[in-house]
């Protein structure tokens, strides 16, 4: 299955892009997608081991399940306000 990964702010700069499609075997968790991400995108190696993530625009855990077509956002430390 395919998951669309979004990268923001400092993570987008590290990875050199703001989005990438990642293929993983189903069933998969957020961690599995991040693992594949690091493999396909060299710059993603600089991401923290346990980044903040959202799946389909809702905060998620690393062990949350992802489904085909989901949007997984890797969020740098929040700094609003």
């Amino acid at each position: 299955m395919t998951v669309r990964v979004l990268l923001f702010a400092t993570y987008a700069e590290l990875a050199g892009r703001t989005s990438v499609e990642v293929s993983v075997q189903s069933p998969a968790t957020v961690s599995d997608v991040l693992c594949s991400l690091r493999a396909v995108l060299p710059g993603a190696g600089g991401l923290p081991e346990r980044p903040l993530v959202a799946v389909n625009q809702v905060h998620a855990r690393l062990d949350s399940t992802v489904s085909d077509g989901d949007e997984l956002a890797v969020l740098p430390p929040l700094a609003g306000g």
Binding site: F8, P48, R50, Q57, V58, P76, P77, L78, A79, G81
Partner: protein, 153 residues
């Protein structure tokens, strides 16, 4: 759902008018301004960016939480894009019949905004340095916990 994110200057009196009604006697507000220094270094400007659809949804959730928990009406705006020192980055206004509840709701919303809404801040220092702000850096290094209070899928 109103637009909580804006690229235009924030007008606090307009937000105040949105929550004012003749039966709401207490209006508590918080305004966050761009400061001219950070950790002792001179800041010349900054840039806010966001994961916009999620930031709008999360801001709306926070406002609804406050309005469900207290008898208040809340208005909120967060600025995106380039900001100069002294400009308003965020404004929260809570109107209620009772001042304690207006304060509590206002405080709740600004704290949750900071911890849950996907917005990022890039600081441009006077010495030419550019830094992505990491409010968690001093606390726990590069590992992040889930924001407190977040609903998790």
């Amino acid at each position: 759902m109103p637009a909580y994110l804006t690229r235009l200057p924030i007008d606090v009196s307009r937000l105040t008018a949105l929550v004012t009604r003749s039966d709401r006697g207490g209006i508590a507000s918080f305004i966050g301004l761009v400061r001219d220094h950070q950790d002792g270094r001179a800041v010349s400007r900054l840039e806010y960016s966001a994961y916009e659809p999620m930031a709008e949804a999360e801001a709306d959730t926070i406002v609804r939480e406050a309005e469900a928990r207290w008898p208040v009406r809340v208005a909120l705006q967060h600025r995106l894009g380039d900001l100069a020192v002294g400009e308003i980055a965020v404004a929260v206004v809570a109107g209620s019949a009772h001042r304690a509840q207006a304060f509590e709701a206002c405080r709740y919303v600004i704290e949750e905004i900071k911890h849950r809404v996907p917005i990022w801040k890039k600081e441009f220092y006077a010495d030419g340095d550019i830094v992505w702000v990491d409010p968690t850096a001093a606390r726990c290094g590069s590992d992040r916990d889930l924001p407190a209070g977040s609903r998790v899928r």
